[in-house]
């Protein structure tokens, strides 16, 4: 951090004071947390001063944010958690969502740590060190948006931008205890972000309250020809209906696959949410395990295709845990990938049918609380499984078909949090956020500030 950022001027305005305090908190604590890979202090102070001088408002005035380092930030190489990409030329302009956040009044504080190339559920990174869970620095943040979860949970920023291909917003939201929104596939533009699996790549916010989550989401909506997948639908703001409560929504818990391979705690968190919402019915989605398998195949193969040249020319510069999965994925016969994409259509249809009877589905976000850093296996349902691919076993079937999900943090006791997915039909983010807000208002979900 620069001296100009750390010394608060006597005459500094409200936003400059807010930014200076946030930068000071980051400077004091992030060495142990590892949320940030770049702190853009000069830019932040300049933006804050400009806002104070102009008196400009905006729905996000007074809000600080940071972005997973796969979002372009002008002047920084977009490393996407990798060693290889940090050799790239600095980005000439910001990612579109960074620009929209700033246009709404938020001030950017920097770029955030992440698992290499987003192929990760742990938040560990061999090049930059792990992001650490602010509630227990010996434990994982979850990933791949690990720095995003850590930055919000540590109170470094109000909002963080992340990406979610198979669960990378929802998993760190759960393990770090913050709110997260994975919008409908195509809702928010990915322009200026480094991809992983184009079929499933989503971007969205994490935040310390549902209102901030919703305000950020609303500020980022809108078409963008620069991202082929972005919807041409008109924006559908969520904040106006945030306080409407859950009356009129038919809410059910997901059974079957979503009630099997997890520790009892994760199902207790779901039960607590269901009780609060008066959701007394369960719905079983057909073929959820197969949906997860199909997402697994498409991720491994499409990700491998994206990185094929780098895997060929610079295999030693990858995180081995990522490289070995990608090389394995590269060798999977194409017929299996085509079948997985055909199955995706089938599963979307089956879930659409389920949504004829209900409006909201509830499921765990992760099968357990945050594992220890470096932990490679855990036992779920009596089966010992690798941690890295399986932290997302409940999130993966949902992003597979692009459904919007609000992840809400639930604290069963004085220990670490758990997350619950509030899943809505396509394009009904506003309903998921309404439910999240009702849970927050009722004290069932919320953010706790760690004692550093």
């Amino acid at each position: 951090m620069t001296a100009s950022a750390s010394v608060k001027s006597q005459s500094s305005g409200a936003m400059e004071q807010t930014v200076s305090a946030a930068l000071a908190r980051i400077a004091t604590h992030d060495g142990r947390v590892g949320a940030f890979t770049d702190v853009t202090a000069d830019r932040a102070v300049a933006a804050a001063r400009a806002q104070d001088a102009s008196g400009a408002g905006g729905p996000l005035a007074g809000v600080t944010f940071a972005a997973k380092n796969l979002f372009d930030i002008a002047g920084l190489p977009t490393r996407a958690g990798s060693k290889i990409n940090r050799e790239r030329a600095p980005a000439e302009r910001d990612a579109e969502l960074v620009r929209r956040m700033e246009a709404a009044g938020a001030v950017l504080l920097g770029g955030l740590n992440m698992g290499e190339y987003a192929y990760d559920f742990t938040g560990e990174n061999v090049h930059d060190g792990p992001s650490r869970n602010p509630h227990d620095l010996t434990r994982m943040t979850g990933g791949s948006s690990g720095g995003s979860g850590a930055a919000v949970a540590a109170g470094f920023v109000d909002v963080a931008l992340g990406s979610d291909t198979n669960g990378s917003i929802r998993v760190p939201s759960a393990l770090c205890g913050c709110f997260g929104l994975k919008p409908t596939y195509g809702r928010l533009t990915r322009a200026g972000t480094f991809p992983f699996v184009h079929s499933f790549d989503h971007v969205g916010p994490l935040a310390r309250s549902v209102r901030l989550l919703s305000l950020a989401y609303d500020a980022m909506q809108g078409p963008d020809a620069a991202d082929a997948a972005t919807t041409t639908r008109d924006p559908e703001p969520a904040t106006a209906s945030l306080e409407d409560g859950v009356a009129g929504l038919r809410i059910a818990t997901l059974g079957g696959y979503f009630a099997e391979k997890g520790e009892p705690d994760c199902f207790e968190a779901v039960a607590r949410v269901a009780n609060s919402l008066g959701a007394d019915r369960a719905v079983t989605l057909p073929e959820a395990a197969r949906a997860r398998a199909a997402a697994y195949v498409i991720s491994a193969t499409e990700g491998a295709a994206l990185h094929l040249d780098r895997l060929r020319t610079r295999p030693d510069d990858f995180d081995p845990a990522v490289r070995d999965r990608l090389i394995a994925g590269a060798t999977v016969p194409a017929a299996f990938v085509a079948q997985a994409q055909r199955f995706r259509r089938w599963f979307a249809g089956a879930v659409a049918k389920a949504f004829e009877e209900v409006d909201i589905l509830i499921a765990p976000a992760t099968p357990c609380r945050a594992p220890k850093l470096g932990q490679t296996t855990f036992t779920l349902g009596g089966e010992t499984l690798p941690v890295r691919p399986n932290l997302g076993l409940f999130t993966q079937p949902i992003s597979f078909i692009g459904l919007p999900v609000a992840a809400v943090p639930v604290w069963l006791d004085d220990g670490l949090p758990l997350g619950v997915q509030i899943i809505a039909p396509p394009w009904r983010e506003a309903d998921a956020l309404r439910v999240a807000r009702a849970l927050e208002r009722d004290g069932v979900a919320g953010v706790r500030v760690p004692a550093f």
Binding site: G186, S199, I327, T331, F343
Partner: protein, 66 residues
């Protein structure tokens, strides 16, 4: 739909060697066991998908439009 039979460890290794050669990829000796484990996991997922009773008319969803 008939299930795709699993490969033996030796068959899986033979596949990895042939396919990586086809793709111009190299698997370092120290990465071999890990890569094979990931291949086994990915192929298990692929077999599960492949066992689904697909209608011939079922279209793929390469770009998903909800």
């Amino acid at each position: 739909m008939s299930a795709v039979p699993p490969l033996s460890p030796a068959e899986l290794e033979a596949h990895l060697d042939a396919a990586t050669a086809l793709l111009g990829l190299t698997v370092a000796p120290e990465a071999r066991a890990s890569t094979l484990a990931h291949l086994a996991a990915t192929m298990a997922a692929a077999r599960l998908v492949s066992g689904f009773a697909f209608d011939d008319e079922l279209e793929p969803a390469p770009v998903f439009r909800p």
